[in-house]
Amino acid sequence: MGSAHSMPEEIQELADKTGFTLEQIEHLHRRFKQISGDQRTIRKESFDRIPDLEFNPIRSKIVRAFFDKRNLRQASDGLAEEINFEDFLTIMSYFRPMEMNMDEEQLDHFRKEKLKFLFHMYDSDNDGKITLQEYRKVVEELLSRNPHLEKESARSIADGAMMEAASICVGQMEPDQVYEGITFEDFLKMWQGIDIDTKMHVRFLNMEPIAHCH
């Protein structure tokens, strides 16, 4: 009677690495099993089972972000074929809310990690900058499938936003100066004043089951 935790040390290791509590890891593990259909790894197709995700216009980018080796901290390039539970938790940890007991340096590091995750979503060819092409692709995806919106409008929206970004990062440009693309430093600069941390986290409810024996 009663199921004792089968691998407490492993779970503790995961908790230390990703910052989740034991209960959150347990719940996420159950969710992982649901998504993977009780397999040990998930592939891109497994995310097709989530109806709520279908609504999301940047669905493919989000799913891709799970397999991006840069986010998984395995390599600086490429996509993984499948990910296991530890990788799943690593990606989820980008969306953890800021802890109360973090100091300045930790907060800054955390913020940078979150922005890096977002940067990787845009920078699909992995050259370290968001070029106009990549930006346009994201805009098109966000606005795609709307029959009333033509490709031209989507393009000009992207171009306009890119101009804004250029003016923030580089300042006034010469008439024939070419703006290569938004590097990560520029990206950070754009978000300097703004508190994105509250926008980019998923709040876990604090729950503990009634029966709990330590």
Binding site: A4, I35, L53, L118, G160, I194, E208, H212, C213
Partner: protein
């Protein structure tokens, strides 16, 4: 050797006699000897004791109420609408920032979504001494373990054989009874006899599951010539409802034992069984059902518009087909109490036989049935709106959440039309702001 067989035969006959007098005979008259009430009282006391023991084993600060999170999930979803959130982030018209909103929503959906959790069994607030629901709960004390072992013995060695016997008796008597009644010429006597046979067999089968059903508002019970509509959790729903009244059932013709039951019952009472090929033709189905309800002498039709089994925490989209037939709709809400046994049939996880075994080794099936006042389609209301109206009424009465997702998502994917809606909303916002940028850019 012969003595052994003799002794076994004696035991069997005693057993059968006991079963007959105490259970089968009273079912014929719809009476109850109070044995199951006693059993339920003992069961409730035991479970209460177990819960208190479990709670005592926990430190005071940690005993938080789990009720909220068990039903609403593990994350707190941000309810700000797309418009507000994006407006707050805007420095220029179109921004990298919009990706924030969507990526957060995406991750929230991945961590937990409203639909997938409806297709797995409901989580319990506290353990009910069944191993299968033991997800979070750990070893507490020796006494609890002993009670649990006792529970296992009672359930598997005492209740299971009893229930299997009853189920067998119930099914056999239904087949035999309805075939016999079916031989009679059509008359009032035949109808009365067929009702009696159906009711008796239903009662036997419900007792085979240790079902404790409370019917509310019996004055609203479905009348002849109407359509009865209910939320669907398991194949047992049919038994729950026929325990209290007679219905004409609608469904696909199966083979095997189920087919045998279908063929014999249709002789006694005009159920509507469709061949698989006929089911595809919606007009044919609608026509036959219309003919059925047009005859005011025929029993009310029983339909489950969700089309699939949901886990009894919510009501999903009602398919509009049943609401196009016309006639009076009698909604019925069925809510099971998961503490005593999980009635939900997860057809992708268990087949029907393992499902029935699980049901028969649970403590009991306890449920509440609410009969609701009849509803008719109003002027200017189309079938879909009517279906949604009935669905809301059932959800409210049964205390279930209401979802507009299709139960078919259990197996299929979301239709593209739904995806496009969100994208249309978003692009309307962007284009509406009138952002037209300067097309001359360097990096190409």
């Amino acid at each position: 050797m012969e003595d052994l067989i003799f002794a076994a035969a004696k035991v069997m006959s005693v057993w059968l006699t006991v079963v007959f007098t105490l259970i089968v005979l009273p079912s014929v008259f719809g009476a109850s000897l109070g044995i199951s009430e006693l059993y339920m009282r003992i069961l409730v006391k035991t479970l209460e004791w177990a819960t208190i023991r479990i709670q005592k084993g926990v430190k005071q600060e940690q005993a938080m109420a789990l009720k909220n999170s068990a039903s609403s999930g593990i994350i707190q979803r941000d309810e700000t609408t797309m418009e507000k959130e994006i407006a707050g982030l805007h420095r220029v018209d179109f921004e990298l920032s919009d990706v924030f909103y969507f990526s957060k929503k995406g991750i929230e959906a991945i961590v937990e979504d409203e639909v997938t959790q409806r297709f797995s069994s409901e989580e319990l607030v506290s353990w009910n001494l069944l191993t299968r629901t033991n997800v979070n709960f750990q070893y507490i004390s020796l006494r609890l373990t002993v009670v649990w072992v006792l529970g296992v013995l009672i359930r598997y060695c005492l209740l299971l054989p009893l229930r299997v016997t009853l189920a067998a008796i119930g099914i056999v008597s239904m087949i035999v009874g309805t075939t016999l009644v079916g031989q009679l010429p059509n008359s009032n006597a035949k109808d009365w006899l067929s009702e009696l046979v159906h009711l008796t067999c239903s009662r036997i089968l419900v007792r085979a599951l240790s079902g404790t059903i409370t019917y509310h508002n019996k004055e609203n019970r479905p009348q002849k010539g109407g359509i009865c509509v209910a939320n669907h959790t398991s194949p047992i729903d049919v038994l729950i409802l026929t325990n209290d009244g007679c219905y004409a059932m609608v469904g696909q013709a199966h083979g095997g034992l189920m087919g045998l039951i279908q063929r014999s019952t249709v002789k006694a009472c005009p159920h509507v069984w469709f061949e698989r090929s006929e089911m595809k033709d919606r007009h044919l189905v609608t026509k036959r059902l219309r003919e059925h309800i047009a005859d005011k002498n025929k029993l009310p039709i029983l339909i489950f518009p969700e089309g699939t089994c949901i886990n009894n925490t919510s009501v999903m989209m009602f398919k509009k087909g049943s609401f196009e037939i016309g006639g009076t709709i009698y909604p019925v809400a069925i809510k099971y109490d998961p503490q005593f046994g999980d009635a939900f049939w997860n057809s992708s996880k268990y087949d029907i036989v393992s499902y029935l075994l699980r049901i028969m080794t649970s403590w009991a099936i306890v449920c509440n049935v609410w009969y609701m006042p009849p509803m008719v389609r109003e002027e200017g209301e189309d079938a879909v709106q009517f279906a949604n109206r009935v669905k809301s009424a059932i959800a409210r009465q049964g205390g279930l959440t209401e979802l507009s997702w299709d139960g078919g998502l259990k197996r299929a994917k979301v239709k593209d039309t739904f995806k496009e809606q969100q994208q249309k909303n978003y692009s309307k916002m962007i284009v509406g702001n009138g952002s037209t940028g300067n097309p001359t850019m360097g990096a190409e």
